[in-house]
Amino acid sequence: MTGPRRQPMIEDTRLTFPFLVSVIDDDESVRAATSSLLRSLGWEVHLYPSAESFLESGHFDEVACIISDVQMPGMTGLQLQQRLRELGLALPIIFITAFASDAVRRQALDGGALCFLGKPVDGAVVSECLSTLQRTFDPGAQ
């Protein structure tokens, strides 16, 4: 299983494929672990301790996907999803949460989430979700 091409092919006639995943979680260990997993899958990772810090960063163009927790102090994952909708940013979101209740799952998926997963997360499942994204952009890639 390979990830996206590391170097964006600027000369390529195809649209450049964003390779950045933004990970948002208030727990430091979880951020670091998710970062390691995603890098092992070939993605570049930016880490944010909160939804607010992500929104403030403004780095939305290169972001291929957001992986976010739901229960966070301050803005929750679902609130972030809504905010992005309001801003007109169609960024795909994968939710990885410790408290996966049916109501929250339904709201997330109805809001357009790519995947809704429970902690501890299976690396293979994350990889599969991200592959879906890839295929959207680069039908030829694995």
Binding site: S29, L37, R39
Partner: protein
């Protein structure tokens, strides 16, 4: 006492405002006047040589009997004047010694009679005043007694006086009411004993013996049982009142039923509240444990996953793999720290070890779940060893164990049509251990489950958490005891545990 509101004035004279126009008075005075006139005429105009003037005393007496002091004095003087006038008129030329003597006798008679009549009037006035005062006193006494009776009734306090050694008693109205006797019943210790709760007969008899022995103060609380079965709680206090050699006790009997029941209800509510608070705290604790450990564990799994992927590449990235594994260890330690912290916090809230009677704890536990037992129609048979075994430990924790085991038995019998009975007993297991047995009349424990019911998360209930009996085992074993389950003789389950008996070393040992 203040001067009564009687009609007497300060000199003790009868009220002059008693109208002299009263018919009897008028008649009397008319008679007196007529008599005076008659006597005067006879005295002055007839030549009779008798001391007719002596009859003036009748006039004075007539006036004195119906009139006041002033009228009497006036009448007396009037009669004196009439006597002298008569004497003057009938003996104008020759004054014989006989005539003078007769006049003197008459005057003496009038004077003496007047004096005596006046004294009589004063005495009568004094007597009337005394009677009035006494009436006032009696009215005041009646008022006071009425207040007292009212106060007794309102405060449910009765007065009881006892004279010994005969044992005669006097009861106030409220006493009859408290004991539920009619007024025709003779107050006596036997009458009281007839209304005493069977369990408290010894207590009451003992108090009476103390009275017969002359104890200075008696103070006893006991229960009464009325003919209809109602229970009353009363408090009897009495002290010695020496009366000329006889031994007498003045006592108060207070009906404290309402207060006692309220106190018992309050104690029950407080215990229930503490119990519920502990349970909800447990829920909170469980939630925080779950939250604090889920994150590090999730991170550990993801790191492991990542490490495998780093190693699985055609060119394994050892640096990244190492970093992942290092983080795994760090997160595992973090999770472990969290658990330690929570354990320490739980330990901090444990009570200090204390010596306590096991029987009391059993009774308290039963009291706490009485509502539940009633709701499930469970009949409880209690058999407590006397004297109560004494153990050392956390009374609250052991109470939790009892509640848990009792509720377990209750739930085992839920829904069955056969009688639901719970047998709770304490006894000595051996010289060093106290033994508690909780048996139910339920379906019993199967062979395969018997060994596992104390394991965490083992439950046969659809909504059970499986923590109750495993927590019980932790507590019992922390106290140096042992808990197990057997089949009961009649087929139900018998949960039993033993605890070391306190050997005067309680304060040295920590609890749990």
């Amino acid at each position: 006492m203040h001067k009564p509101l009687s009609p007497a004035d300060s000199r003790g004279q009868p009220n002059e405002s008693v109208s002299p126009l009263r018919p009897e008075v008028r008649i009397a005075w008319a008679l007196a006047g007529a008599l005076a006139l008659t006597v005067f005429l006879i005295d002055a105009l007839t030549p009779l040589d008798i001391a007719i003037a002596v009859f003036y005393v009748v006039v004075v007496l007539l006036v004195a009997s119906s009139g006041g002091r002033t009228a009497t004095v006036r009448a007396a003087w009037g009669c004196v004047l009439l006597t002298l006038a008569g004497f003057a008129l009938s003996h104008d030329d020759s004054v014989s010694t006989g005539a003078i003597a007769r006049c003197a006798v008459s005057l003496l008679a009038i004077a003496t009679t007047s004096y005596l009549a006046l004294r009589n009037q004063t005495a009568t006035a004094d007597l009337r005043e005394q009677v009035e005062e006494r009436k006032q006193a009696e009215r005041a006494l009646e008022r006071t007694e009425a207040f007292l009776l009212d106060a007794q009734r309102l405060s449910r306090t009765a007065s009881i006086a006892t004279r010994l050694p005969e044992g005669t008693m006097w009861w106030s109205d409220e006493a009859y009411r408290i004991f539920d006797y009619t007024r025709d019943v003779t107050p006596s210790i036997d009458a009281i004993l007839a209304r005493t709760h069977p369990d408290d007969l010894a207590l009451v008899r003992n108090a009476y013996e103390n009275e017969r022995g002359g104890a200075p103060v008696i103070d006893v609380e006991h229960r009464l049982r009325m003919p209809d079965g109602a229970i009353k709680h009363v408090h009897y206090v009495a002290h010695v009142v020496q009366r000329s050699g006889e031994l007498e006790y003045a006592g108060a009997l207070m009906d404290i039923t309402e207060t006692t029941l309220a106190q018992e209800a309050l104690a029950r509510s407080t215990a229930e509240l503490a119990h519920v608070t502990r349970i909800s705290m447990l829920g909170e604790l469980a939630a925080s444990i779950a939250h604090e450990t889920t994150q590090p564990i999730a991170a550990i799994v993801t790191c492991g996953d990542a490490a495998l992927r780093w190693l699985n590449r055609p060119q394994p990235d050892l640096a990244e793999a190492k970093q992942s594994i290092t983080q795994m260890i760090r997160d595992a330690k973090r999770a472990s720290d969290v658990i330690q912290r929570i354990r320490a916090m739980a330990k901090k809230h444990e009570g200090p070890a204390a010596r306590f009677a096991l029987n009391g704890t059993v009774e308290e536990a039963l009291e706490l779940v009485r509502g539940e037992l009633d709701r499930h129609s469970v009949a409880v048979h209690v058999q407590l060893a006397e004297p109560s075994p004494v153990v050392c430990g956390d009374r609250v924790q052991l109470q939790q164990v009892l509640i848990n085991v009792i509720m377990n038995g209750t739930q085992a019998m839920a829904g069955q049509n056969t009688p639901r009975r719970l047998h709770v007993a304490t006894r000595m297991f051996d010289d060093n251990h106290a033994h508690v047995i909780v048996e139910d009349s339920g379906p019993g424990i199967g062979e395969e489950s018997a060994g596992r019911i104390f394991n965490a998360f083992f439950t046969t209930k659809a909504d059970g958490m499986g923590m109750g009996l495993s927590i019980c085992r932790s507590i019992v074993e922390a106290h140096g005891g042992r808990i197990w389950a057997e089949g009961a003789a009649q087929g139900g389950a018998s949960l039993q545990f033993i605890l070391p008996v306190d050997r005067e070393t309680c304060d040295e040992q920590p609890a749990g």
